[in-house]
């Protein structure tokens, strides 16, 4: 076993109301690829921010190469040989690769020699990059390369990577893995945050699993089943629910081979999406964010128009219908971004109730608004969904995330939709509110509606969906019934292999 590079003992960090990390200890060795596993909110980002100097721990200590290590800011961490590639890149699209890298350095060399160095390093590590290409034109995988090269130019000894493969195609994942193996051969240690269990099994030497801020175990991934790792992450035996089969009705919503380029420069294009949802059914669509979820919702809500028969509602082509028309028909949506998209931050809950409820709840007559009715609708939502707020006149931005989400979902559910599409329904929401929302979705389906749930939370999808499909880079895998679906299969579906095997190392 190689020598220890970074030793972390009893690191604790608390924020008002929540303990992000509680007494976490872990060991990273030289030349090791160490995975950090855990669900959303398990404490992975906080831990890593402490290692990188963005956050100061409340207690505990870190020892790097035998010496005490307590970086006050990222600059100090970089000076000590710790580099980090974030999940969300700090890149400037209109500038070229060399300029982007220069901006991330303390004292960059003159452009020409920097370009030379970039070429050299990128070739050596198998991530070829032309220093003069404009970053905006690069694919997500290539943009990640810029971030990685930026780190590598500073010769780090510990490289932290946060969800690196969430934006990569399978081929690019292989290329990245080659690079990482080369780095570890030179003695660089890698701290690899991910929740793609198969990848971790393929790449990592050791794994530490966090749950609710604590280190609940380490293992050697190659010798552990994906299922066991998943159970350690979740803390209970993952049971795929034995669902009493509901009587499914007609197909209410169908997408037929839908392809659409994204509206924005950095969005994901949808490619040949085909799906159908029946009355009484809950269809779950999984996938890490950034793979086309926003675009899929926009195509269903009417914000993005498509050829008329690419989207069918009860057999009728509605691809060209406006959002208002779709609501009248009974197709409702709840987007991911609560403030700014699903609700207007500075407007009151009454006004936000009006935002989508006007058509189905009869809140306007010949254009003139019925404020009394809108207020009653808002009050109904607040009462029925236990939205904690002083009253309906409060601005949306004053509500906590969980309460606003309850309001937003409740607003759609209480309009008695025939089809409801929700994107990340319980993201950032506390457990009690999340349970209430999921129950509401199930009740809606039991009442005969078709429900489409797009979510990153696999647990949630397994709990409430009848069928499951995975969205990867704008492509949708065929839907499979959730009963009997194993975690392995799910991982493969989300890996975008579409039934193809991921290359085993």
């Amino acid at each position: 076993m190689s020598e220890i590079l970074l030793q972390i003992e009893g690191l604790t960090k608390a924020y008002p109301g929540v303990v992000a990390n509680a007494d976490v200890s872990l060991t990273i060795r030289k030349g090791e690829v160490h995975a950090l596993l855990g669900e959303n909110g398990a404490g992975k980002s906080t831990l890593v921010k402490m290692i990188y100097g963005l956050v100061k721990p409340d207690s505990g200590q870190m020892v790097l190469r035998g010496a005490p290590y307590a970086p006050a800011q990222p600059r100090a961490a970089r000076a000590a040989g710790v580099a980090m590639v974030f999940q969300h890149f700090s890149l400037f699209d209109a500038l070229d690769v060399a300029e982007n890298i220069a901006l991330g350095m303390e004292t960059p060399p003159p452009m020409r020699s920097l370009a030379q160095q970039i070429r050299q390093v990128s070739e050596t590590y198998g991530l070829p990059l032309d220093p003069y290409r404009t970053v905006g034109e690069l694919s997500a995988g290539e943009r990640q390369r810029v971030e990685i090269i930026r780190c590598l130019l500073q010769s780090p000894q510990l490289l932290i990577m946060d969800e690196p493969t969430s934006v990569l195609t399978p081929q690019e994942v292989e290329i990245l893995f080659e690079t990482l193996r080369k780095l570890t051969a030179e003695g660089v240690a890698i701290l690899y945050i991910s929740h793609k269990l198969e990848e971790i099994r393929a790449l990592c030497d050791a794994a530490t699993i966090l749950r609710q801020g604590r280190n609940v175990g380490t293992c050697v991934p190659a010798q552990t089943q994906a299922r066991d790792m998943a159970e350690m992450m979740v803390g209970s035996t993952l049971h795929t629910p034995a669902r009493s089969p509901r009587t499914m009705g007609d197909v209410l919503l169908a997408l037929n081979n839908l392809s659409r380029p994204s509206a924005s420069a950095f969005g994901t294009a949808l490619k040949n999406i085909t799906l159908s949802v029946q009355a009484g059914e809950v269809l779950g669509i999984g996938g890490v964010a950034g793979n086309g979820q926003d675009e899929l919702l926009a195509v269903l809500s009417g914000e993005l128009l498509t050829p008329a028969d690419a989207v069918q509602f009860m057999g009728q082509p509605i691809g060209q219908a406006t959002p208002q028309a779709r609501r009248r028909l009974g197709l409702l949506c709840a987007p991911e971004e609560r403030l700014g998209h699903a609700a207007a931050p500075d407007m009151s809950l009454v006004e936000n109730a009006l935002l989508t409820g006007v058509q189905r709840k009869g809140l306007a007559s010949r254009g003139f608004l019925k404020w009394g009715a809108a207020r009653r609708f808002a009050e109904d939502i607040i009462a029925r969904f236990d939205v904690r707020t002083p009253g309906p006149d409060v601005a949306a931005r004053a509500l906590s995330g969980g309460n606003l989400q309850k309001f937003v979902i409740g607003r759609e559910v209480m309009q008695a939709p025939k089809v409801l599409v929700v994107n990340q329904p319980t993201w950032g929401v506390d457990a009690a509110a999340a349970a209430a929302i999921r129950q509401a979705l199930l009740d809606l389906a039991a009442g005969g509606a078709a429900v489409l749930v797009i979510s990153q939370d696999l647990d949630e999808l397994m709990e409430i969906s009848d069928r499951f499909a995975a969205l990867n880079e704008g492509r949708l895998s065929p839907a499979k019934p959730t009963t009997g679906l194993s975690v392995d299969e799910i991982g493969l579906m989300m890996g975008g292999a579409h039934g193809m095997e991921v290359a085993h190392v």
Partner: protein, 360 residues
């Protein structure tokens, strides 16, 4: 170290307080300015703000307030609808001019016929003229994505040239002894926008302004379109989610503000001004921008702000003749008002906190 912390909710109190605070600050700064110019600040402020309303000659000045205030309010109401949605019509001055030209053109075409339909036709022409002039930036924005600020502004200069050309050419008074300018519409009864109640200064423009205030109030608070306008200004993405069509909104906002500005121009040329001349336009289109912001883009607020601005115009005139205060000082004063309002406005959405240095 001062730090800005976003409030959970826009503060109701400060929404009403900011214009008042801005006015007070402007008065203080303005007073300083006036004393710098060698005038007694207290006397100057009094002359501008108090005299027109309460002095012994107030009966003469008060009607002037209506005359000056009406076009300001009328234009500002139109502008506020667009501003609320992030659609910037800066060319109201040009739409005002074109409205006046169209209306006066209609009147002079019928001269010397006396008929009841002439004035309503003029009103229609004025509104349509302003509307059409505003449709140019609207169409270019919708079709090509061209910035409406610059286009509407360029059209102001074009309109000014058109005005000059008309007053020297097509609309020139043939019986005017060769002097530039059109026939005086005040002497043409069918076309004259006369005072409805003698001595009050209240002409059809004033009535129109009041109707516009009511219309805007109802639109913004009671109608779907007004809701959409407010929604677009607050959260454009939510507006698209709700189904607002950006094209329709641009056409509506620019169209309405153009029409209202054109109407203001018509009422002015057929009434208080009377003549189409090269210097007909008095900058109402730009001052209306200040009025719109001072009124916090709210119809009732605009009504009050328009009154205040008119007060500064009328009071400024008095100060000019009585105290020798230059007209430019009033212009500066008005600019200061907008400045202070914008600066003070941040208290509505942010709380100012003293930041304690975090022990790191």
């Amino acid at each position: 170290m001062l730090r800005l912390e976003k409030r959970p909710q826009p503060s109701r109190l400060w929404t009403y307080l900011t214009p008042v605070l801005a006015v007070v600050l402007t008065m203080l700064c303005g007073g300083l300015l006036f004393s710098f110019l060698g005038k007694d600040p207290v006397l100057a402020i009094r002359t501008i703000f108090w005299e027109p309303l309460f002095s012994e000659f107030a009966f003469y000045y008060r009607p002037q307030l209506l005359v000056k205030g009406a076009p300001l309010v009328l234009i500002a109401i139109g502008l506020s609808l667009g501003f609320k949605a992030g659609i910037w019509n800066i060319g109201a001055e040009g739409q005002y001019i074109i409205g006046a030209l169209c209306g006066a053109g209609v009147a002079l075409a019928f001269y010397p016929m006396e008929a009841a339909f002439i004035f309503p036709l003029m009103v229609l022409a004025g509104g349509l003229g302003g509307w059409a002039w505003a449709m140019i930036p609207a169409f270019l924005k919708v079709r090509f994505g061209t910035n409406e600020i610059l286009v509407s502004l360029m059209l102001v200069y074009v309109a000014e040239q058109l005005l000059a050309s008309m007053s020297l050419g097509l609309l020139k008074n043939p019986q005017g002894f060769g002097f530039p300018g059109s026939r005086n519409l005040q002497q043409y009864p069918s076309a004259h926008n006369a005072e409805l109640i003698a001595g009050t200064g209240m002409h059809w423009g004033v009535v129109a302004a009041l109707i516009a205030v009511i219309f805007a109030y109802v639109l913004l608070n009671r109608h779907m379109q007004g809701f959409y306008i407010r929604l677009t200004g607050d959260a454009p993405r939510a507006a698209r989610f709700a189904g607002v069509s950006p094209t329709r909104l641009v056409l509506f906002c620019l169209g309405v503000s153009g029409a209202l500005a054109g109407l203001a121009g018509l009422f002015e040329v057929a009434g208080p001004s009377g003549v189409v001349s090269i210097d007909f336009n008095a900058g109402y289109g730009f001052t209306a921008i200040i009025v719109a912001f001072l009124g916090r883009l709210h119809p009732v607020g605009i009504l009050m702000a328009g009154g205040l601005m008119a007060l500064t115009y009328v009071g400024g005139d008095i100060a000019q003749s009585k105290l020798g205060l230059p007209k430019a000082a009033i212009q500066l004063f008005q600019g200061m008002l907008l400045f202070f309002l914008l600066a003070v406005d941040l208290t509505t959405n942010y709380r100012i906190r003293l930041r304690r240095k975090e022990a790191s």
